[in-house]
């Protein structure tokens, strides 16, 4: 076991994040570059990709990240752990091999973790698992899911990643794993943390949780004195220095903008955690309220004393199903009477759609500049808005109908409220497919036998 701190870098927070700040992490020196590419929404995007082309279904910015980091991997300075596999880790591994070949390198060991994809076993799992795949948010029975499943993935834990590293992998590619597992896996491997070392595992989950959203712990999306964050256009990606007892220092490359202090760290600590005293991860239930945060100055925050309790016997899993097609338009109205004009335009549009015999299953109407985002939390006012954008969205059963609804807007360019519509067609990129997502629980004993780690050397 190393007696020094292991340095983890959070080099990606979502599919589409910028690889630019990765170089800063590599220059600062990190043992592991952890790339978190999958939000719930991302799996839906990847599902659409895979439906078009069986060789897709992974996050396609992976080669850009690998191109930036492979030189450091070859030098033995870092290893890469990523869930860029999405719903097709084999295809991601293939892309990684191709990227390495294009760079003309050899001697790399690429591991692929499989077993999260339960789609082929859906009926069997549904019949066998204790939850019967009821929706974990609403309690609704699986039979009430609004369409056929498009994907079905369990959130695996960190131990398969640790296993891949133990086999000598330089690059570990997974599908759906818990985000924090990308960071916990290397710590389990380096420090030999046991499966029942709950406090250590909880500490690792907390570190992963803090780093998994890249710049969001280092001054991004920060509601404190955000306007004082240095050089926000050079927002850094974060680094954790973790020791064997689980104590960690959250920091950032010195030569960068951004900020790491107790305020930025606590913003991320509670991000999307539900109950912070019982953060459910595949490997441990972590108590984030037990963590002690200390500002050490110079963009360094110490996190210690994290407590954990035994993991549950289920994995969270996510399914998606087709939920129709949406269209959207935005029309700007100027003073005077901007809001009244926007409301009238919306009503005229809805009536025209009805007269055209088009079926809309759901409307969403927002008035930007009035209360589009704040809804009922916005107090009524007598003040007249200087301009208002009517943003109208609709859901239809099929793509053709959703497109036809949008066309009913066009004649209103000359036939709506004065002074005519501005900006018609903006944001009208054509209908897009909606997906419902269905979070549920699956018994670990049904998943674990199918989890495999394969190693390929190029």
């Amino acid at each position: 076991m190393p007696d020094r701190a292991i340095r983890l870098g959070g080099g990606q927070g979502f599919y589409g994040d910028s690889p630019r700040a990765v170089q800063g992490l590599l220059d600062a020196g990190i043992d592991y570059l952890c790339l978190e590419a999958l939000a719930e929404l991302t799996l839906a995007i990847l599902q659409k990709d895979r439906a078009r082309d069986e060789s897709l279904g992974y996050t396609r910015d992976l080669p850009r990240y690998l191109s930036a980091a492979i030189p450091a991997v070859l030098d033995g300075r870092t290893k890469i752990v990523t869930n860029a596999g999405g719903i097709n880790p084999r295809a991601a591994a293939h892309a990684a091999v191709e990227t390495a070949k294009q760079l003309g390198v050899s001697g790399l060991k690429i591991a692929t973790v499989l077993g999260d994809d339960l789609m082929a076993r859906l009926p069997d799992v549904q019949a066998s698992t204790a939850s019967a795949l009821a929706n974990v948010e609403t309690g609704a029975a699986f039979s009430s899911m609004g369409g056929d499943a498009l994907f079905f993935s369990a959130y695996l834990g960190a131990f398969p990643i640790a296993e891949a590293l133990a086999q000598g992998a330089d690059i570990v590619i997974t599908g759906r794993v818990a985000d924090a597992a990308l960071f916990l896996g290397p710590l389990i491997y380096e420090f030999g943390w046991a499966r029942n070392d709950w406090d250590r595992l909880a500490a690792g989950v907390l570190v992963g949780h803090l780093l998994e959203c890249s710049g969001q712990v280092a001054g991004g999306n920060f509601s404190g004195e955000w306007w004082t964050v240095p050089e926000p256009w050079k927002l850094p990606y974060p680094i954790a220095e973790v020791t064997a007892d689980g104590t960690a220092i959250i920091t950032k490359p010195v030569a960068s903008g951004g900020r790491v202090d107790v305020d930025t760290v606590r913003h991320q600590l509670l991000y999307e955690v539900h109950d912070p005293a019982a953060y459910l991860s595949p490997d441990v239930v972590a108590d984030f309220t037990s963590a002690q945060l200390t500002d050490l100055g110079d963009d360094r925050v110490e996190v210690r004393d994290v407590r954990g309790t035994p993991a549950t016997d289920t994995y969270k899993a996510l399914l998606a199903y087709p939920a129709g097609w949406s269209g959207e338009t935005r029309i700007a109205f100027s003073w005077p009477d901007a809001e009244e004009k926007a409301r009238a335009l919306t009503a005229i549009f809805m009536k025209r759609v009805e007269l055209a015999d088009l079926t809309v299953d759901e409307w969403e109407v927002e008035f930007w500049g009035v209360n589009a985002l704040g809804g009922d939390t916005v107090p009524p006012t007598d003040a007249e808005a200087p301009e208002v954008v009517a943003r109208v969205s609709w859901r239809c059963a099929d793509q053709r109908t959703a497109a036809a609804v949008g066309r009913e807007l066009v004649p209103l360019a000359l036939g709506g409220p004065p002074a005519g519509m501005t900006g018609i067609g903006r944001g009208g990129a054509g209908p897009s497919e909606l997906l419902g997502i269905w979070p549920t629980l699956v018994d670990k004993q049904l998943v674990d036998p199918g989890v495999t780690v394969t190693l390929e050397e190029i």
């Binding site: 839906a44 509601s223 991000y271 005293a277």
Partner: protein
């Protein structure tokens, strides 16, 4: 005295399915005691009105002087299904700190947040826009 949460709280919102998580951060002990007392789950549910269809549950994180609110049925069916422009509910943190509360005890003066100064941004923009 009535005051808005924005004057002494930080916030961040995130999403899981059709559930929004909104965290509220106080800046000192007095501020934490105040939100602990005033910002109940019931008040938050009432504040959001039709934006939140389901229940609201409040969790405490005293170690970071914060409350976390779990809002069920808050995202128009969930990110990939929602027709809302803010389909991930990122703006719901800001919507929460619009809430007004009573500061009953005048001896309690929670640390107040300054308003933003973005003169640096004005300088950058002015140098690039004629």
């Amino acid at each position: 005295m009535r005051t808005q949460l924005r004057d002494f709280c930080g916030y961040r919102a995130g999403d899981k399915g059709d559930t929004s998580d909104v965290a509220l951060f106080a800046y000192d002990d007095a501020g934490y005691e105040l939100i602990l007392r005033e910002v109940t789950a019931e008040r938050v549910k009432e504040h959001f009105g039709s934006l939140v269809r389901g229940e609201v549950v409040r969790y405490e994180a005293a170690n970071v002087r914060a409350l976390n609110f779990v809002l069920r049925g808050a995202l128009g069916g969930g990110g990939p299904r929602s027709l809302r422009s803010d389909n991930l509910g990122k703006s719901l943190g800001g919507a929460l700190v619009r809430m007004e509360i009573d500061v009953l005890d005048r001896s309690v003066t929670p640390a107040r947040r300054p308003r933003p100064d973005v003169s640096w941004a004005d300088t950058i923009i002015a140098a690039r826009v004629g």
